[in-house]
Structure formats: C-alpha cells, structure tokens
C-alpha cells in the first residue's frame, strides 16, 4: 500500500494540466510532441490501473487455456504464459482442434492490450 494519491492519479492529473493549461500556451511546433507526452501518460495510467485489477486473472485465463489444450505447465505463479504460448505456436505444438479457441484467445489478449495502449482503436 503506497501513499495517496497513487501513481495513476498523479499521471492523470499531470496529463490534464499538460493538455488544459500548458498546451494552449505552447507554440504550434510543440503540439505534436506535447500530444505524444499526453498519450504516453495516458497509456502509463491505464497500465497501472489494469495491473491493480487483472494481472493475475489474465495469467490464470491464459494458463487455463494452455492446460485445457493439453500443455503441461510449470506451476510457478510467475511463469511467463505468454512466452510459453508464443513458443508453442512457433513449434506448432497446439493441436489443430484448438485452432478456433486459440484464435479467440489471441483476439482477447490483443483486445486487453489495446484497452491499455489505445482503447479507441477497438471501435475504429
């Protein structure tokens, strides 16, 4: 338990100041860089928020998929399931009957990443 306001709150507050108070007084040529800064702060804030809630859940669902697909998992909690999945796909070790669930799982994984890096992209 850290001090309050937490990192997410600080980032979002600083981002709001950047966009609402600093950006309007900056010259045009600084606009692109400032928007990139705001974007980076938004991503970092959403990532902190997601970490608070779902890191373990995400690993669990990926882990469950691998177990159901017949993969023997290292039971360590910090086992890198995404790395293992990438390796299994490269080796073509996931049985073909898991084709559809695998595609769905990869889509879900990618959606979760987009929720952090660019949620607007999901509705484009």
């Amino acid at each position: 338990m850290g001090n309050q306001p937490d990192g997410q709150n600080l980032l979002l507050t600083a981002r709001r100041v950047l966009l609402e108070e600093i950006l309007p007084i900056l010259p045009d040529e600084s606009r692109y860089m400032t928007m990139m800064m705001a974007n980076a702060m938004g991503i970092a804030a959403r990532e902190l928020d997601a970490k608070k809630r779902s890191d373990l859940e995400e690993e669990k669902s990926l882990g469950l998929f691998l177990i159901e697909a017949g993969v023997e998992l290292d039971q360590k909690v910090d086992c890198d399931h995404e790395g293992m999945l990438a390796e299994l796909i490269r080796q073509r070790s996931i049985p073909d009957r898991w084709r559809q669930p695998l595609a769905e799982m990869l889509l879900a994984l990618t959606r979760r990443k987009l929720q952090i890096s660019n949620p607007k992209y999901l509705s484009m």
């Binding site: 999945l85 490269r90 695998l102 595609a103 990869l106 990618t110 890096s117 660019n118 992209y121």
Partner: protein, 343 residues
C-alpha cells in the same frame, strides 16, 4: 551533421559535375521526414555548363542512425536511376558523390519535386472523387512500370535474390527478427504460421520499392509528382508492394479507403492492369497485406528496441512500440475474415 551546415562544398561538387562556370547558393534548408536519411533542399543559380539557371535540388545523405536492412546511398542511387529509366515517377537522380572527403559521407543529388508527402496531411485533404481515382490509378501504373524491372533486365547485382521464394524468405527473416526481441509475441508467431500455410504460388521476382505507401510519395494539386524513399528496394514478389500500400496500418485513420487512405482498390488494380495487361488477384493482395502488417509490427518492435537499448532515446520510438497491438488486432481480424470467406 556539421558538414551539412555549410552547403558550399556540395555546391562546388554540383558545379563541377554540371561543368558550370559559376554557382551561387540561394537557399539551403533541412527537409522534414527521413529517420534514416537526411534530406536538404539546395537552391542554386548556375552560369554556363549543362544546366544553367536556377535549380532546386534535394541532397540526400545518411542520418546518424541507419538500419542494417537499408541500401547505401550508392545502391539507392542505382535503384532510382533504374526506376527512372523505366518511366517511374521518381525524382530525377542527377549526381552521386562517394568521396567522403567532400562532406564526410556519401550523398546524392536529385531534382526536387513539388508537393507534399505527409500522410496525415494528404489523407485529410479529401481530394474530389475523380481526382482521388486518377491519383490511385496512377499509383497502380507506377508500380506496374517498376515491376517490369526483373533480375535479368537490370544491373542491380547488389540486391540479393530471396530464396527459395519471396514469401518464405520474408517469413524466415521475421521469425529471426522476433528471436532478437525478448518480449514474446504469440499473435505475430500465429500470423507467421498462417502466412506460411497459405503461401500463394510464387510469381517471377520484380524490383519492388518495399516502402511504397502514403507518406512516401509526393502529391501536388492532386497529382503524383514523385515516389520517394527507395532505401528498402529489393527483388521480391510484386504483390508485396501492392499489399504494403493497401495494408490497414497505412490508411492514416481513413480505413474505408483501402489504398493508403486515399482511394479504392478498383482504381489501383485498374491502373496496374492497364500497364501489365494482367488482372490483379485481390486475394493475393490481401495475403501480402497480412505480410505487410506483420512486417510493420516487427519494425515497430525494433524501433522500440532502439529506445529501450539507449541507442536513441525517443518518446516517438517508445510510443511506436506501444502501437504493436493495433497491428496485431488488424492482422488477426484480417486473417480470420479471410478464413471465413475462403473456408
């Protein structure tokens, strides 16, 4: 690049090559764009020689950071000369200087073309439909003219022939690139398997631009004026260029205009077929669009690595790395849609 702060040595080089009696520099500015190359506009007035009068040239030299896959200035100059001679609207290549004592590195001089290349600006312009159709048709014609150049017909022996096919060589290369990146990418691994399982029958190799997209061609008053940035040119499957141009990642938000956010495939394919006499196969283009998005994802990962390694600390490079899920999302959606359509 300190050598580039004073253009007089470049001007002297130009005067010597144009056999001008006198040359006067009237303008020298750095042009935007080009993470890998430095481009400067140089305006001069020359007396006598082969091209007297006022001219504006582009001087292209290496930027501090180079990418291993890109061509040297000398090689790029040879490629542009070859494309220009084949009737492709590339900026006219004039002189190459490989003598590093002049400005510290090789550079080439090309005639400057008018217009804008910035992808966002071009897409935002919203050309009238008839102009957009004509522009996109001309993009097809340009690619078809370029693709007429084949390994036997051009002296570009420094370009390697992909083995055994262009698609399989790309897949092998991208797997190798993923091995060099510590973070796992199951979606890209999945996409590479997908591409491997669906490789179309190979076509004869052509000279491909390999970065032919909105942002790398100049448009002035709705018309194509020049195709830029030839440093990734290679012998490849001609559909690789069509796929790169149409990939969803290069539409600058204008996703319904499949050709680089500028227009429609029917016009591109019409223009292409008009020169080659052979219809474009839309499914092949879609296959190479998937290849294009995988390639762009890998380039984005490599750009993030440049930031992470400290080679070039940059917010832009860092954020490019975080764009990868966008390409992965597009890849998955396109592959799954193609599977549904084709069974």
């Amino acid at each position: 690049m300190d050598e580039m702060s004073d253009p007089s040595r470049i001007a002297d080089f130009i005067a010597a090559n144009a056999r001008a009696e006198n040359i006067q520099v009237t303008g020298f500015t750095k042009l935007s764009g080009g993470a890998i190359q430095n481009n400067h506009a140089l305006s001069v007035v020359m007396d006598g020689g082969s091209c007297p009068g006022a001219h504006t040239f582009v001087v292209r030299s290496d930027a501090p950071s180079t990418i291993a896959a890109s061509l040297t200035r000398e090689q790029e100059f040879a490629v542009i000369k070859c494309a220009y001679a084949a009737g492709v609207t590339a900026p006219e290549p004039l002189w190459l200087c490989t003598d590093k004592s002049v400005i510290g590195q090789s550079f080439c001089v090309m005639r400057k073309v008018d217009g804008i290349a910035n992808g966002r600006q071009l897409v935002r312009q919203e050309l009238p439909d008839s102009e957009a159709s004509a522009l996109v048709r001309s993009l097809g014609q340009e690619l078809a003219r370029l693709h007429r150049i084949q390994p036997g017909s051009a002296d570009l022996s420094f370009l390697k022939l992909p083995q055994p096919t262009a698609a399989s060589a790309r897949i092998r290369h991208y797997r190798g690139a993923l091995d060099d990146i510590s973070e796992p990418h199951p979606v890209l691994e999945w996409a590479l398997n997908w591409l491997e399982d669906r490789m179309p029958s190979p076509l004869p190799l052509s000279l491909c631009h390999c970065d032919f997209r909105t942002g790398n061609y100049m448009v002035d008053k709705g018309r194509l004026t020049g195709i830029l940035d030839w440093e990734f040119a290679a012998w490849s499957d001609p559909y690789e260029d069509l796929g790169w141009l149409c990939a969803r990642s290069w539409r600058f938000g204008n996703v319904n205009k499949e050709v680089g956010g500028m227009g429609h495939k029917r016009d591109l394919f019409d223009g292409y077929a008009n020169v080659t006499g052979v219809d474009v196969e839309p499914e092949r283009v879609k296959y190479w669009e998937v290849m294009a998005m995988v390639r762009w994802a890998i380039i984005a990962l490599q750009q993030a690595q440049r930031h992470l390694s400290g080679e070039e600390t940059s917010l832009e490079l860092a954020l490019t790395g975080r764009m990868v899920p966008e390409m992965e999302f597009d890849v998955l959606n396109q592959c799954l849609t193609m599977e549904k359509t084709n069974g």
